[in-house]
Amino acid sequence: MASAIQNSCIECVSRSDRLFCDLPAETLGAFNRIKTVSAFSRGSILFREGTPARGIFLLCEGKARLSVCSESGKRLTLQIVGPGEVVGLSAALSGTPYEVTAEILEDAQVAIVRRKDLLEFLHDYREACLQVVHLLSEDLHVAYDRVRSVGLGRTRRPRVAHLN
C-alpha cells in the first residue's frame, strides 16, 4: 500500500513514540524547516562507509542495514535500524567519514538534514543537543554489543553479582 509522504513533523502521528522526534513544538518546527524528505526504495544506499559525512538521515518509515566492509569486500552487519531512528549522526557531528554503509532494506521515507544545518540547529536548540547525546549513547551500546558478539561470540552481557 503506497502512502503519501508525510512531510510535516508537526502533523506526524508517530512522533511522541520516537526518541529524536519527541521535541518541544518550537524545536520540532525548526527541525521541520531544515529537513528534506525523500522516498528510497529497497536496495538504495543512503551513504557508504569512508565517504565524507554530508548529513544525517532520519528513518520516518522503513528499515535500513548498517554494515562495515573489509578490504576484500566481505561485509558484516552492525545493526538494523527502523522507523524513528537516525543514521550517520556520529560522523556528521564529528565531521569524520561515515563509519558504516547504510542500505535500505524496506522501502523507506527518509528525512535528510545537511551537516551544516544540523550543527546550527543544535547550537540554537539546546534540548535537541541533549537528545543527540542520548541517541549517540544508544548507538554506542549497540556497537559495543556487536563488538562483544564478534569478539567473544556472545550477544548478552554477563550478569554481575553486586559488588559491595
Binding site: E99, C129, S137
Partner: protein
C-alpha cells in the same frame, strides 16, 4: 592537565559548575574503576595515566577494547543512558581521575549545551572506534593481520607516523595484546618472533622499531 580540555573551552560559568560536581581522585596501578554490568554511578574523566577497557565472557575470556588515554571520559554511554557499564575499566598506570555522579552530570549537560556538544563529540569518537573494532575483529582473517594492524596504529601516534622507521613503546604484555586481538598469548609470541626474524620489526628494550613499514602494511591487509 590534558583531560580538562574536554570541558576547558567552555564559558567560565560552565567550568565553575563543573568544579563543584567533580571529585578528583588518585588511583594506583591495577585499580578497577568500574565493572562491566554494574549500574552506572557516574563518569570518570581520565586526567593522568592510562586505563585498560575490556569486555569479559562468562568463561573468563577477555577482550581488551582499547587503552584509554588522558582526556577520555569513561563510562559515558552508560551514565547518559542509565544502562549498565559496557566495559570494565582497570588502571595500568597510577591515575588521576575526576569522578562526576550521574545525576550531577546529567543536570550539568541539561544546563550547559556547550558541554553537551563536547560530550556528543566524544561519544561519536567512541562509536567510530567501536565500528573500527567490529571491522577489525569480525573481518580480519588472521591474528597476524590483526597484530600488524595494531602495530601500525600504535606506531602512528606521537608524531611517529611520518618516519621511515617509526617506534612504539610496548605498553602491554603479550597476554594483553592477545586479549586485544582475540587470540592466544602463544600466537602473539610466535607472531612477534616471526616479525623479528623477517626483520619487519626490531626490539630495543621495551621499544619496538618498525623496520619495514610496507611489509607490515601488506600483512595488515591480507594476513
Amino acid at each position: 592537565m590534558r583531560a580538562d580540555r574536554i570541558f576547558c573551552d567552555l564559558p567560565a560559568s560552565a567550568l565553575q559548575s563543573f568544579e563543584t560536581i567533580k571529585y578528583a581522585t588518585a588511583y594506583p596501578k591495577g585499580a578497577v574503576l568500574f565493572v562491566e554490568g554494574q549500574a552506572p554511578r557516574g563518569i570518570f574523566v581520565l586526567c593522568k595515566g592510562r586505563v585498560k577497557l575490556s569486555i569479559c565472557a562468562s568463561d573468563g575470556k577477555t577482550l581488551i577494547l582499547k587503552i584509554a588515554e588522558p582526556g577520555e571520559v569513561l563510562g559515558l554511554s552508560a551514565t547518559v543512558s542509565g544502562k549498565p557499564y559496557e566495559l570494565t575499566a582497570e588502571t595500568i598506570d597510577p591515575c588521576q581521575v575526576n569522578f562526576v555522579k550521574r545525576e550531577d552530570f546529567l543536570r550539568f549537560l541539561r544546563e550547559h549545551s556547550d558541554a553537551c556538544f563536547k560530550v556528543a563529540e566524544q561519544l561519536s569518537e567512541k562509536y567510530n572506534n567501536a565500528c573500527h573494532e567490529v571491522r577489525s575483529l569480525g573481518l580480519s582473517h588472521s591474528a597476524g593481520e590483526k597484530l600488524a594492524k595494531l602495530l601500525l596504529e600504535w606506531s602512528s601516534k606521537n608524531g611517529e607516523a611520518a618516519k621511515q622507521e617509526p617506534r612504539l613503546k610496548l605498553a602491554l604484555t603479550h597476554e594483553e595484546i592477545a586479549q586485544m586481538i582475540g587470540t592466544s598469548r602463544e600466537t602473539v609470541t610466535r607472531l612477534f618472533a616471526d616479525l623479528k626474524k623477517r626483520q619487519i620489526v626490531q626490539a630495543k628494550g621495551s621499544t619496538l622499531v618498525i623496520r619495514n613499514k610496507s611489509a607490515l602494511r601488506l600483512l595488515a591487509t591480507n594476513g
